[in-house]
Symmetry: C2
Subunit: 336 residues, 2 copies
Amino acid sequence: MTSVPLAEPPSYEDVRAARERLAGLIPPTPVLPWTRLGERLDCRILLKCEQFQPTGAFKIRGATNALLSLSEEERRRGVVTHSSGNHGAALAYAGRRLGVSVTVALPEGSSPAKIRLLEEEGARIVPCAPTQEAREATLARLVATEGLVAIPPYDDRRVIAGQGTACDEFLDQAPDLDTLLVPMGGGGLIAGSALALRARRPQARLLGVEPAGAADTRESLMTGNRLTRHQPETIADGLRALVGVLPFAIIRRAVDGVLTVTDEETITALRLFVRETHAVIEPSSATVVAALLALPEKERRGRTIGLLLSGGNVEPRALAGWLAREEEPRADQRLR
Amino acid sequence: MTSVPLAEPPSYEDVRAARERLAGLIPPTPVLPWTRLGERLDCRILLKCEQFQPTGAFKIRGATNALLSLSEEERRRGVVTHSSGNHGAALAYAGRRLGVSVTVALPEGSSPAKIRLLEEEGARIVPCAPTQEAREATLARLVATEGLVAIPPYDDRRVIAGQGTACDEFLDQAPDLDTLLVPMGGGGLIAGSALALRARRPQARLLGVEPAGAADTRESLMTGNRLTRHQPETIADGLRALVGVLPFAIIRRAVDGVLTVTDEETITALRLFVRETHAVIEPSSATVVAALLALPEKERRGRTIGLLLSGGNVEPRALAGWLAREEEPRADQRLR
């Protein structure tokens, strides 16, 4: 779906328009202080908790904004995606509540939990082979033969503007942010965040976080050319996508730096997070916790640091496995 | 410590005074909607999330209110408790921040996690044998020989009034509650909640929840006499205490009903909760989720139901064990 982006990146005005569309439909998610870690790291840590969205991830913002941006005629045709993850679930959830039929091209072998979630939300599932080519071909066929409207997971103005409402809301709740850490996969969340942060808090530092095994955005920024293929190897399943065309256009001019973390650091951070905050995050979000723990002291001391936590959808068994590991020295103690 | 309660139960005015004392020190905890379960059960479910307190439980409210109620001379002497659980941790946390020295009579064999938490907060630990008698004797000795001020975990006006601020805050956030479910152990939380609810929302139903293996309050209400000994057998470690004298005096006139749940129901509810809400609760709080799932349809349909979630302090390994269990039919599906 990254092959048919709308041409121009969105602006902050699009984020504001999205907020007006979403008002009343998507209540603000809470911001929690992580008091104890903040005391240990000499900073104030604020957690923007998108895992508490009804579908467990920020994706509901972009999906809902996209559906609300359709023409009446497009609404009647219905929409389609080939994301089986958080975007697909968000689209199914939003479609059911807004009365738009949602079709998902679902790779064979998808987890029963994902299938159940889509079925519960009344999405129509069209099976396809589990390759990128098959997914895109199935999607293209459904668009061509049934007239469905494709809603891409990140390479889309409406979606990026919707995702940007998370940061815009965060700035209402914490107007004094000095630093914002955001995970980077396809780039929709950080691109939308960048629009809001640059407009409202230009002096704040915006840091993107990638798994070391899927650091395509960092490499793309270094060469100036967006990578178009890679072999991601990371436990952070939400961050395996290549950065999209529109997100990259925004990221390259708005992001102050990219941090990479290993999967081991991510899991250690996830365990610390669950134990101390009593909230759940998925590995994609734990990358920003790991990045915070690795920030140099001068980047932390006295600052108000926001973590944009993208979601909490983990298989209970996987979470159990990470929590049950041997205790290591506390992550923030190891760093001292 | 239940042998030296202050004589009169507190009133709603004490809860309001506690709120003024705590303002600025203890930020409000968020209320999260549990949208998906609410849709399945035909009701609106609101979660008051005390697990997001810095010490992971509501106990910080009563402990802080008690310390702020001390005279200057008492503050200088310091305080003591024999709770090694959430109350002890809360007192240590509050004492450190308010400049009051805190001593905890700690039963030998307490978990390393609990000891570490108390040490991190600078509490002084006095070991004692792991029996109720030894704990009370150690406490009495410290009061007699060192002049420390005992802060009981629930049988205390100041503590009950402080705990009541959770419900009072909840009513600011959700003024239209029809039903409130609250876990019952020593009774401090539900007694304080009753003061706020009866004053501000008298028509709402207040339901207490106990583990079937520690249902002393239900039995005490049935006979009209407070039980003074029992053999609790439940995984909900925060609810093993006998209901206190002062809480019982409030509960008997203010609570509409008591629900009991089995440990098996509690763990099933805990697993469902973590999977769908992406927050963590301890078994003591999961009892109210289990009770909600077992409510008759006429008690649910169309109502706004609040769950007062008391805390989230679980050992990561125990949580891992519960999450890793075989999937059962979904709890709310079994009930249909």
